[in-house]
């Protein structure tokens, strides 16, 4: 039933020091200990940590996750807060996708235009410099 921090780590793909760090910052409650001071966990911690990991992967910040966790622990409350966190996050996601898509096109174009030539002919440098000409002035 109860298992070690290493086992929790294996079950959630969250590294051991990260789990301890989450406990330290109060994102996970302090775990009960064995006689020899080792942390003990159960299924509830697996769930909570998966929730945290998934949220982190989706780009939520720790403070967002704190709020989301607080919500999830008070199911009787309105989901308005959850909704607004998710919504503002969605707007941010949209911005990131848009900018990454632009970047992707730019990078892809740069790479395709970059022949086997010398850097002076390589458009990657030009595009990054936001210049229409070779940046040879940097050589002095």
């Amino acid at each position: 039933m109860a298992f070690s921090i290493g086992e929790l780590s294996r079950r959630t793909a969250v590294k051991v020091p990260t789990i301890r760090y989450y406990e330290q910052i109060g994102l996970l409650p302090a775990a009960p200990r064995t006689d020899s001071n080792r942390r003990l966990y159960g299924q509830a911690e697996v769930d909570r940590l998966n929730f945290i990991r998934h949220s982190r992967e989706l780009g939520f910040e720790i403070d967002d996750i704190r709020e989301l966790l607080a919500m999830s622990e008070q199911p009787q409350s309105s989901c308005h807060t959850v909704d607004s966190i998710a919504n503002s996050h969605l707007a941010e996601i949209d911005r990131r996708i848009a900018s990454l898509t632009t970047l992707k096109a730019e990078l892809a174009r740069m790479i395709s235009e970059c022949g086997r030539g010398r850097v002076c002919d390589c458009r990657i440098i030009e595009v990054l410099a936001d210049h229409g000409q070779c940046r040879s002035e940097h050589r002095q």
Copy 2:
């Protein structure tokens, strides 16, 4: 011709402390100083800093930028390195876009399914928990 760090900041949209930081880590060469020890810059620094800013916006790390800058200062060399930096960056961008797109769909669905109800009925929590049921076990 020569201008202050504040002016350089205005021309490049890079904050003054960030410029000093870049000098400190050697991303910008140490600027010449006035008699009263103030840094002086010219067009070359505007170019270089724009290059850096643009690269950072595109998600390149400082060390990547160091390499790209070294390339741009040796136009006679092959652009193979530039190309490989950009290519590996492109792969990373693709991964990020894919994961953000999945997230976006998920968030959008969550938000649309999240009625005016209680959190127990709100799918945002469920999706983040990667669970099919309400996480009321968290309440104890």
